[in-house]
Symmetry: D3
Subunit: 140 residues, 6 copies
């Protein structure tokens, strides 16, 4: 009954900006710098979805990579790829579209789905650039 | 009098969309697909600037990497990083913000500057994603 | 009438071995070493397809990346991914499945198709490992 | 008595397929898709071996990277590189050659050896492609 | 009150050697091999600094990536980049400049600073080459 | 008689500094900046050696990758890895150890050897960091 984790990588390209509606422009630029540019900027995001389970002897796995890929496609790539994170994503409404909020949001979208496949979501890692990334493991 | 090339890599994060104002919405989506999403999307662009010259014996180079970095910063990163390529870049006005037009535009910005440093711009390579990139060498 | 090149990256996972039927086993191992292992080995191949053309002002490109991706899928990924290069690929029959022969074979499959899209195949690059790759530009 | 981990990366190129002998062909293709291709396919596998220990002041480490490299060479690269995972590896006989089973198998080969060097095997990570990888830390 | 981690990557280029002053030359070469070369060698080090905290709703983060970048610049890049790790770094004096000692030293420099920003240093990862890296999480 | 190119990647870790003995310290720091740090710094260099030839039908290649690897090992890795480029390399004596001079020097070491194998050295590419690299193709 050994526990293994597998990770699937996926990518999406999106526009966003950091902007707090309760602050004036000066405060927004002071806090967020160039990330507050009003006409948006964007990123090639890279997400790593890690799930944990017990291997089924007949198949050699606990979830097919093809199924995991389909879940990520439906719940991450379809709603986020070639979108504006501030304008187009219902579950980010009223929140900053920081990589930190985004990684939690992706966890919350995917976690209940993974749970129905007899395994456990272990971690979401989200790269915003080659130098910046965030991890969330469901801890509070 | 041996000729060597050196390349400096830089990066910028920008929003854009592909949209032809002379076409209606249906035609734009037919041609550009999800790249025509009206609320923008974005990329982590990666640019490789290659220059060619004859080594100066005293320094071991023909242009200091620090100077090349400063040129790329002034003419590529400053005008493009954390910007909207369709709205914020004068030299892209009236053109599609495709990676093909962008790589030519960067060449045209940088080429006259490089020429004043006693060396020759050889190639601009521009990555839009890990799977798509464009090269321009000034050929017509 | 500026000429730009674009490159699309794709990947396929295949089994192969190097083996010359006209040589005995000893000679095969002497020449090909572990690459002659009779039970096959395999690679994650990575192919970079570079095409050259003149930008159409209306679209900002000369071939849609989506079309180029579809061509590579049909002529490279479909016939080669999750295949045995020695057993399953008609156009490699009777040839060593070296990265050198493979890169020429991919050129010959794709070149006539690219030509029908109003642009020119410029180069195929094929990575066999992170340390070994081959380039072919149609030169003889 | 601070605990540090070090990781050594290694690579091997192997052929394999997913196939359950107790199922007929139709069932195998239904479950494993193209991974069941009878003539094999293959991968450039990349393994990351992480060990944990207490630094020896005289050397600045607890196991020499050179020794760790030699262990990985003997127990991972020698038996797996340029091999067929289904046919040539005794400790995979009767098991699916999935990345999940493979990462556990590598752990079981290496763990007793690492233990004789005064340190602890912490994790094996195994990449099958740039998009798919598995981790095992000995948990049950 | 969800806990998220963010990681910032930075790089520095330094010279070093492994050499124990209490041993003679023969013993040093026997233990450290080519790493004991008396005229030094060097590396492009890559450091990943991971910090953990609770997101502030107003900003979408718990520490600004810009602030984290500045801390890494002051405490890691400034003292280590384009330096000799054996000769120029006070906090490495009397210690082997192994990647293991270096990752602990970086932790000890940065940890008290991170603590004043209302978050927690979770891990330092330090790559010496593409094949060798060390992790430290403050455990003893 | 098709011409193909193959490339082999190799790596070496070395110390160096930029320093012109005919200049005083102030001038050296003015020109070379932190690269003139007297106690040395270092890099993980990555070299790509590209050779061109006509495929032999019997083997599927014109030079065995194993032979090319051995040439690079003897003429590049052995003399440069874990060395001080300013002090330990006869063919760099009296020259700046810039990536530009280094790439030409590697060409001059390897070119006559490649010529004896019935093929042609086409290009040396040398990465000093992930952002800086040089190419030399023997042109003057």
């Amino acid at each position: 009954m050994k526990q293994v984790s597998i990770t699937r990588r996926a990518r999406f390209n999106a526009a966003h900006k950091l902007w707090n509606e309760e602050w004036d422009e000066a405060k927004n630029f002071e806090v967020f710098g160039k990330c507050a540019h009003p006409n948006w900027h964007g990123h090639n995001y890279e997400v790593h979805v890690t799930v944990r389970g017990i291997i089924d002897e007949a198949t050699g796995y606990f979830i097919n990579f093809t199924d995991l890929k389909a879940i990520i496609n439906e719940y991450v790539e379809e709603p986020l790829d070639h979108r504006n994170l501030n304008m187009d994503v219902p579950w980010l409404k009223g929140k900053q579209t920081s990589v930190e909020n985004l990684v939690i949001g992706i966890w919350e979208q995917i976690e209940p789905i993974i749970a129905t496949h007899g395994c456990t979501l272990e971690r979401i890692r989200l790269y915003e650039t080659e130098n910046n990334y965030a991890d969330y493991s469901g801890e509070s």
